[in-house]
């Protein structure tokens, strides 16, 4: 099923009517709005939609999609043209009022189209009424979108979508309505509660909508002198949110049963009066304004951004307003983006389309945009704590997150947690830790020039200190204060080429290392490869290179690696055996790094030796590559490990630098000035910590409950061999949400594709570049643009969708969240195949 766009058309104003409780007058207010809008905008059309309805219903003549309960109705035209009187099929007289209310929509037959999508007969909550006949949430959204599209195609007008019960009343599947409909991003009119306790239920309902990203544009309720709810609410919403509250007199009391005709007349009179009031007219004009204003804001954002924003990683001279994508919102794995050049589009075309977030919002997104559990975690901590300065104090979210990260790390070396704000600052901290530990152990003077050891194409962030950890490259070489402080080794990489998994080593490694493997898992079977002696050629290269630089007088303070994948340096999958061998060489030969050659292996196997080993798992860790820790792919335990991005599930910045006790001890002294005097204002901010706890909990739960088994069995498990047999053993698996057959198919597009690989939620396509292979290459740009063009106009009803992806020079990567479903992957794979066929 295609992703569903939020509901926004230029000339169809769609409002959703939510109730702060049952029986507060949702249908009456909707009827009044329908009546008034069809009167005021007499050349347009007004429509009413009830997606899900329960109880005996008079909507039999509407095209219910299913489960419709036919009920006799008759037209009663002498009161008002188009008014319907229901012949109620039961004898329960006390229900007459409810039936009356439902039937009121019908009196606008002159101008009001109406539809019930799903009708259940029992007058109870939809989740009970639907038992045995559950309609999926996705199905309901699709139907609502289709009906709205039909209305939009029919011309300008209004569409009022009435929900059932209160904001959190469950839909047929049991999902609370406020969650069910959130992705549609309809602006809301909330019907407040005039009764005793109604202030509370109205404000509560409002907040539940607000914290789900709804824009409540107006609140309406009945007047009641005794409780005075409307007075309080008018003041409250004006002061706190600037939202207008409209109050109308209550409908007349109905004399149930004794004189139906009288009741009808009373109600008709009430409607006639209410619909003509200045309040209602002003409210509709206001809602119309707000609707237009939302579109205006969306359409002006690109120009505004072009004028004011200084974008990261962007040559703005080459950026036009049309290149800037305005987003209205995001939910699940999709942004809702403004469809380009919509002003030239026909009336009926939607202004928003779903855009797959193909960079996982810069590799942060893992649990879906608009994840309400993360929202609630953030809100809880915001209110319980705000921020708490983090020296000499402790709060539960920080301590729990520290414990949780140490547990997830499964690395007996790590015992300490230092907090900072992002991967770059976390790596600065890691470097400071490592250099101090090395310098003090080796007894070097404070002014000793110290280098780091790493791989070419590494990237650790954009602050000067972390830039200095990377060899000169596009990102850093033009930065005035950049000064590469290290030695960076060549490395062998892994790709699927022409259907085969290959290790490609630079020429200096010799031809010995260029192997082919039937399965990616074979490459990660390090034990087997070491027993075969595959690592020896690596060891030789590493030792000779190291010795060459040490002989020149280099002093090293750290080995810094991005385990398995070099991210910003080009989405390169490094042979894990090479990284493991590098760690082992450094660790097992401590004496070579020491001027005195006096170092021996430490007795405590949690102590570092050779060099402190820093793993930058900011990108690769926390399930991005399919495992909680990327270090496990290397079967190596670092002394320092840095984690960010996915840790907060794609919500707020936070980073932790985990360290071993002996690294920590290198800063211990009687002098305050020997301490790690690093910190940021919002260190360990409770909101970030609480969100991280929730994110990790969700990720671990998915892992444990086998949520990714569909993906693992999509070709990847066939790649197992004897030592990779248990599905339950996380650490023995190499898999991706991207099906193996897609990866292999791409690798066979040999004229344009140099190689491809997939792990976890990452798919990286290395395109052949005639114009060089660096960051400045434009080889992948064509494919990116094709994916951005998406499905084109697509289905008129559900609209088009596209893929927002990022390129790194000649590499196009697509990165999903950890919540991707099989069907979603299939849809994107299809578009990707089309795109590749067209572009290559």
């Amino acid at each position: 099923m295609s992703p569903i766009g939020s509901l926004l058309w230029r000339h169809l104003r769609v409002y959703q009517i939510y109730g702060s409780n049952t029986d507060v007058g949702k249908t009456i207010f909707t009827s009044i709005f329908c009546n008034a809008s069809s009167r005021i905008w007499r050349h347009e059309t007004t429509a009413y939609l009830k997606p899900v309805s329960t109880g005996p219903e008079d909507e039999a003549d509407d095209k219910c999609v299913s489960i419709a309960i036919p009920i006799a109705v008759q037209f009663h035209s002498d009161l008002l043209p188009g008014v319907v009187i229901v012949t109620y099929p039961t004898t329960v007289k006390s229900h007459i009022k409810a039936v009356l209310i439902h039937s009121h929509i019908r009196r606008f037959a002159n101008g009001v189209a109406r539809r019930t999508l799903y009708q259940y007969s029992q007058p109870v909550s939809p989740h009970i009424a639907a038992k045995g006949n559950v309609i999926s949430d996705q199905c309901i959204l699709k139907s609502v979108h289709e009906y709205s599209s039909e209305r939009a195609a029919a011309g300008p007008g209004w569409l009022f979508i009435e929900t059932a019960g209160g904001t959190h009343s469950p839909g047929p599947s049991g999902t609370p309505q406020a969650d069910l409909y959130a992705a549609l991003r309809c602006p809301v009119v909330l019907v407040g509660d005039w009764k005793l306790g109604g202030i509370s239920s109205t404000v509560s309902a409002f907040e539940c909508l607000r914290i789900r990203g709804y824009d409540v544009e107006g609140i309406v309720l009945f007047e009641d002198e005794k409780y005075g709810n409307s007075d309080y609410l008018k003041e409250y919403f004006k002061e706190h949110y600037g939202i207008p509250v409209m109050a109308l007199p209550r409908p007349p009391p109905l004399d149930n049963g004794s004189s139906k005709t009288k009741d009808y007349e009373l109600m008709l009179e009430y409607y006639a009066l209410a619909s003509h009031t200045k309040e209602v007219e002003e409210t509709l004009v206001y809602l119309d304004d707000r609707y237009k204003s939302r579109i205006k804001v969306l359409e002006s954002m690109a120009a505004g951004a072009h004028q004011r924003i200084w974008y990261p990683f962007t040559q703005q001279k080459l950026l036009q307003p049309k290149d800037i994508v305005p987003i209205d919102s995001a939910s699940g794995n999709h942004f809702q983006t403004l469809v380009p050049e919509c002003s030239e589009n026909p009336t009926g075309k939607p202004l928003l389309q779903p855009s797959f977030d193909g960079s996982a919002s810069w590799w942060t997104q893992g649990l879906g945009h608009g994840n309400i559990s993360l929202t609630l975690a953030a809100a809880y901590a915001a209110s319980r704590y705000g921020h708490v300065m983090f020296a000499g104090m402790i709060h539960k979210p920080a301590l729990d997150l520290a414990a949780s990260m140490l547990e997830i790390a499964q690395n007996p070396r790590l015992s300490r947690v230092f907090f900072s704000d992002n991967g770059s600052t976390g790596m600065e901290v890691a470097v400071k830790m490592a250099l101090r530990a090395a310098r003090t152990r080796y007894g070097w003077s404070p002014n000793t020039k110290m280098d780091v050891l790493g791989l070419k194409d590494s990237y650790h962030g954009d602050t000067i200190g972390t830039m200095d950890c990377a060899e000169p490259n596009t990102y850093n070489e033009k930065v005035e204060w950049y000064e590469g402080k290290g030695v960076w080794l060549d490395y062998p990489q892994v790709q699927c080429v022409a259907g085969e998994w290959q290790i490609q080593a630079p020429s200096e490694f010799g031809t010995d290392c260029n192997h082919r493997f039937p399965h990616l898992a074979d490459i990660f079977n390090l034990g087997q490869r070491i027993s075969r002696g595959d690592h020896k050629v690596y060891e030789k290269y590493i030792l000779s290179t190291l010795r060459r630089h040490l002989d020149k007088g280099h002093k090293f303070g750290a080995l810094i690696l991005e385990p398995v994948v070099l991210g910003a340096g080009g989405m390169v999958l490094v042979d894990p055996l090479f990284q493991k061998t590098l760690v082992d060489v450094v660790r097992h030969r401590p004496s070579i790094f020491d001027l005195d050659n006096s170092q021996t292996l430490p007795s405590d196997d949690r102590d570092w030796s050779g060099l402190p080993i820093v793993f930058d798992e900011v990108f690769t860790g926390l399930y991005r590559l399919g495992r909680p820790m990327a270090a496990t792919f290397l079967d190596s335990n670092p002394d320092i490990s840095v984690h960010a991005k996915l840790m907060t599930g794609g919500l707020v910045p936070l980073c932790v630098t985990l360290a071993s006790e002996c690294i920590f001890d290198a800063f211990a002294s009687e002098e305050k000035s020997d301490a790690l005097l690093h910190g940021h204002s919002y260190t360990a901010h409770p909101v970030g910590c609480q969100v991280a706890i929730e994110s990790l909990k969700q990720l671990q739960a998915m892992d444990k409950s086998g949520d990714w088994n569909w993906a693992k069995s999509n070709g990847w498990l066939q790649a197992k061999n004897d030592t990779y047999s248990e599905l339950s053993q996380t650490n023995t698996q190499v898999w991706s949400i991207w099906p193996l057959d897609l990866v292999q198919w791409i690798s066979l597009q040999a004229e344009g594709v140099a190689g491809v690989w997939a792990m976890g939620s990452v798919l990286a396509i290395h395109l052949r570049a005639s114009d060089g292979s660096g960051y400045t290459s434009t080889a992948a740009e064509g494919l990116r643009k094709r994916l951005l063009a998406g499905t084109g106009t697509g289905n008129a009803a559900t609209g088009s969708w596209n893929v927002h992806s990022r390129v790194l020079g000649n590499v196009l990567y697509i990165m999903g969240s950890q919540r991707m479903m099989e069907q979603e992957v299939e849809e994107i794979s299809k578009l990707l195949r089309t795109g590749l066929e067209e572009c290559l």
Copy 2:
């Protein structure tokens, strides 16, 4: 009034009973809990508290604090000992059920103490009933705390506090109860709604409590077969929160009026049965466990932190678990911290005390902890967007914040907004911007060694790049990769010494600059001082120092200043005339920075000249010193301006670097690699942007509505002279929330105090240090400890409170939020005077 502690005692379990709506059975469930707890814990006491009650009430014999309505009651002892039958003073029979429910608390007279604090006679919402007799929120909290303290002193037991109406039903002042009581941090039992629509109202009420930081420990409701709410809710809360839901049968229907005795008997039977059920017993045991667990967690946090956390800016060898302050929560300007050594304290002593957040949580806090508007802003953006990668895309919060910051800056030079995560990264960006602009203008080669120009004691963050912008100091000099890249000038500082405002200049400036002023505002009257020629000696010093370094071959790429106050460098108030003169010298003599001496003043007065001028307002800006922009104190417009901390009101990290168009243009080219290739994953994260928009809105509203007039008139306005006359002109004011007489009194403690100053919400006391005056000095430590000891045991009822402050070497500073009230300032001032008298 003293700040109020959250309610936590070791042996008194305090639970607050909230209702998800009116008429859901709060009183019945509370009665059942009272009855069952007094039975199960028969050697302890159970108490019931209704802080605010409306309607005719049977509580006349309780000690209501005020406004009690005497109502006749009689004891009816033949049904159950201690049962009270109310003689209802009105004849409204339909109210009999409500009255019955209220009276049920009484039947536990054997073991249950009960109290109503504020009784209003009208049976409507308290905010209406209280008209003309409004009790302040603070007063209610104090009474609740006092009563709870009494109960705690009386020995172990339970206290159930019943709220009125629903979660958001207003208290007497109109504040919704969920907000009113949030600071007490009582764990909650939520009474769910069994009626149609009750799923929605229960979940809504729960979420409203949750997003206010409440811990809802259990949900209870009546069973109803038709709606099945309890089945749904059990499943829902188990799955989402692991919170147990208990359902009990509904009370018997009462035959109102016709046979009162029968009604009573029916209810008595119901109570007897309900109170003895396994469900109720298990629920109470669970609540007891949760209560103990909360205390256990609090008491174990310091040890846990000591073992796992690597603290920023902390020599952990000198840190013992007892030095780590565990906090339970924070609200307003106070943390709620664990009272030390509470295990030795008597039963009745509270475990939590309010600790004034005297560092404004590292200078971030401005709008109070637990500010619900900020929470809601964060939650809205979290759900509407999550995170959105910020290259080539735009979302409303980012654009609105950019516009808002540019508007607040009131600086015609600034037109561009670059986002990052914290002050340090924002300054890295600023430095990269400035260096590139200078290098390209002056035509220097990419490898040119470039310095920054600044002041001694400057501090711009802890990443290596910003460390390099500061002269060698305690923070940076032991960092392996630190390399000061600049020239840092001496400066004259301002202090109140012995009652007088003095400018103290280093000896090299000559004695000409050591002036005394009656008022601080006179020092900030730059126009007057320049007309007197006060700046000439500064100009001379600056020029000669600059020429000396330029002659040595230094090439400068930026002037970087913290306007007005050097923060982490020691809370030093710099003579604003000196900083202005420095800016002017740099700007008006562009040729001296150019190798070719060919530079002339630019024609566009928004263009930079001499050097790009960077203001680091991370600490000093956004009202911290009393004005929206610290730059206005210097009457100078920087080319680049960096803002963080207060921008997000003390919630989440976010930073903006504002720049002029000509700085921006320095990166424009046809080459992508010439762009500012800097960025962080969570760049412009919507949560941070939305929170910042809300923070700025609140700060600006306070400014506009004169919320600080009480402070301005506290001595500071007397310091005005002719040119500082209008209260309304923000930019002509120099003021502080700390009263001038306090500042002067402190300055007169000459034996211990070297000087003192206050501006905005900052008060900095420079103590005399025999052991050196640097960051490592311990001169201020004694005073800090004294403030932390606080008021001691204080009032047994309301408990003690203290001040959590930070020192920078020999400087102790206290920083309030921008929401501090006069009374709060007075209380802290009093403690501060006591502390100074005792310590000096």
